[in-house]
C-alpha cells in the first residue's frame, strides 16, 4: 500500500525528548518509533458533524450570565492540508487560561483569580471552505514549575482531527511579540525556527471589529497532499 501522507512532513514536530521541558524525560520512549504502513486503521478517523457543537460553543464570552474580564479577541483562520486545500467540516476544540492566567482546573494552583464568567473551553467545526472563528478573551501568561521563575507565554490550546487518524493534531497558538518566547522550553522544543513561528498568530486589522474586539489570524496545516503531482501556482 502506498504511503498517502508523506512522512517527511513530520520533521516539523518537536523531538519528543526535549530535556529543557523536564516532564519529557520520564515520558519519552527510549526506543525509536517503528514505522508502519498506512493501513485502513490509520487512513480513517472519527467524523464529527455540525451537530456536535452548540450554538455558543465558539464564543467563550457568552457561556455565562455576564461578560468575562479581559481583552476581547476574535481568533479565526483556515484549516488546510499541505497543498493548501481547505479541510471542511472538521472539529476544533480549544481551551485556555483566563485573562489573569488561571485555568478552570482542580490542579491549577496559580494564585490568580478565577473569573465566574469564563470557563475557557470551546469548540467549532470548520465550514465548507475550512474556515473557523472563535470569540474569546486574550489569555494571560502563567507560572509553572519547570524551572526557577518559569512562565508560559500566553497561548490557546487547539485540538484538531482532520480526515484521518494520522491528521490528528494537538497544538498551541501564541500571540505576536510575546516577551516570554525566548524563555519557554515548550515553544522552543520545536527546533526548526520556520516551523516554530508558524505557531504565532498574526494580528489582523481586517478581522478586528471596530469598538468591539481585536482580530488574530491563525491558519492550521494538517498532514495530507494531493495524490496527483502538484503544480505550483505561478508566483510573480
Amino acid at each position: 500500500m502506498s504511503r498517502i501522507y508523506p512522512i517527511g512532513s513530520l520533521a516539523a514536530h518537536p523531538p519528543s525528548l526535549s530535556p529543557g521541558y523536564k516532564s519529557t524525560v520520564l515520558r519519552t520512549p527510549s526506543r525509536p518509533l517503528i514505522r508502519i504502513p498506512q493501513t485502513m486503521s490509520e487512513l480513517s478517523g472519527p467524523v464529527f458533524g455540525h451537530e456536535s457543537v452548540g450554538e455558543k460553543d465558539n464564543d467563550l464570552t457568552l457561556q455565562h450570565a455576564g461578560e468575562p474580564l479581559g481583552e476581547r479577541i476574535i481568533v479565526s483562520g483556515r484549516v488546510m492540508d499541505e497543498d493548501g486545500r481547505p479541510i471542511p467540516n472538521t472539529l476544533i476544540e480549544v481551551w485556555q487560561a483566563n485573562a489573569a492566567g488561571r485555568y478552570v482546573h482542580v490542579v491549577d494552583q496559580h494564585p490568580a483569580p478565577l473569573d465566574p464568567n469564563f470557563s475557557g473551553a470551546g469548540r467549532t467545526v470548520t465550514d465548507e471552505n475550512g474556515f473557523y472563528r472563535f470569540v474569546t478573551v486574550k489569555p494571560g501568561a502563567y507560572p509553572w514549575r519547570n524551572h526557577h521563575n518559569a512562565w508560559r507565554p500566553a497561548h490557546i490550546h487547539l485540538s484538531l482531527f482532520g480526515p484521518s487518524f494520522l491528521t490528528r493534531l494537538i497544538t498551541q497558538m501564541y500571540f505576536p511579540g510575546d516577551p516570554l518566547f525566548a524563555f519557554d522550553p515548550i515553544f522552543n522544543s520545536i527546533t526548526d525556527e520556520k516551523a516554530r513561528v508558524r505557531l504565532i498568530s498574526k494580528f489582523d486589522l481586517a478581522t478586528t471589529e471596530p469598538e468591539w474586539a481585536l482580530g488574530y489570524k491563525f491558519d492550521i496545516v494538517l498532514r495530507g497532499r494531493e495524490q496527483t503531482p502538484f503544480e505550483d501556482p505561478h508566483h510573480d
Partner: protein
C-alpha cells in the same frame, strides 16, 4: 495575490496537551458538555452494534514505573465486522462511532467500554488481525504517542499481521491485551509503559 495561490510551507507543529485539558476535552467533572467518552456503546441504538461486548482497561506508567494520572487516551477502531464509522455506508446510521476518549484516573487507570473489532484488510491484499489504534496525550508529551493493541485470543492471526511482523518478537507482548472476565463481562487488560523494562512499542505512520 489570492489565498488559494498560497501553498503552506509546512504542517503546523505539535505541542503538548498540557495538564489542564480536562475541562474542554474530558469535561465530565466540569460544566461543558462531553462530546466523546470512554463508552463507545452509549448511543440509543447501541444494542444493534456488531461485535462482542468488551471492556478494555489498564494503567499507564512512566519510565520509572510511576503511574501517570494526567494523560488523555484516545482509541479508534472498527466494529465487529471490521467496518469504520464514517467510512462504511453500512454504518451510516449506526450508534457506533468507533472513537473513544478518557483521561486517566489518579492511579493511572483507563477504561473503555466497546466491542471487539473484526479483522481488517491489510496492505497488498493481506489481512490484519483485530486491533485498536491508541493515541496518547499528556503533559510531557510534545507529540501524540501512537500505538495499537491486539487481543490475546487471536494468537493464531497474529503471525500473519503485517504490523506485528515489524515488531521485534520479544517486544510484541507489549501490544497484546490479555483476555479475562469480571462478573460475567469480558475484560481485556493492557498496561502501557512509556519506558523501563516493559516499554510499550510505539509507531509512526
Amino acid at each position: 495575490m489570492t489565498e488559494t495561490a498560497t501553498r503552506p510551507e509546512g504542517i503546523t507543529p505539535s505541542q503538548t496537551v498540557g495538564p489542564f485539558f480536562a475541562y474542554a476535552l474530558t469535561p465530565h467533572a466540569y460544566d461543558f458538555p462531553e462530546l466523546v467518552t470512554g463508552n463507545l456503546l452509549a448511543g440509543p441504538d447501541a444494542g444493534e452494534v456488531s461485535g462482542e461486548r468488551i471492556t478494555i482497561t489498564g494503567r499507564l506508567f512512566d519510565a520509572e514505573g510511576n503511574v501517570i494520572p494526567d494523560a488523555m487516551i484516545e482509541i479508534w477502531q472498527a466494529d465487529g465486522e471490521g467496518r469504520f464509522a464514517g467510512h462504511d455506508a453500512a454504518l451510516s446510521n449506526s450508534a457506533f462511532r468507533g472513537f473513544g476518549r478518557v483521561e486517566c484516573e489518579k492511579d493511572g487507570r483507563f477504561t473503555f467500554t466497546t466491542v471487539k473489532p473484526g479483522p481488517l484488510p491489510g496492505p497488498d491484499g493481506g489481512r490484519q488481525a483485530p486491533h485498536v489504534n491508541i493515541g496518547l496525550f499528556a503533559r510531557g508529551l510534545l507529540n501524540r504517542l501512537f500505538t495499537r493493541f491486539y487481543f490475546s485470543d487471536d494468537a493464531a492471526a497474529h503471525g500473519g499481521d503485517p504490523v506485528l511482523a515489524l515488531v521485534p518478537a520479544d517486544q510484541r507482548a507489549t501490544l497484546i491485551a490479555t483476555r479475562g472476565s469480571d462478573g460475567g463481562k469480558t475484560v481485556y487488560n493492557l498496561d502501557i509503559h512509556l519506558g523501563g523494562g516493559a516499554e510499550t512499542v510505539f509507531f509512526e505512520a
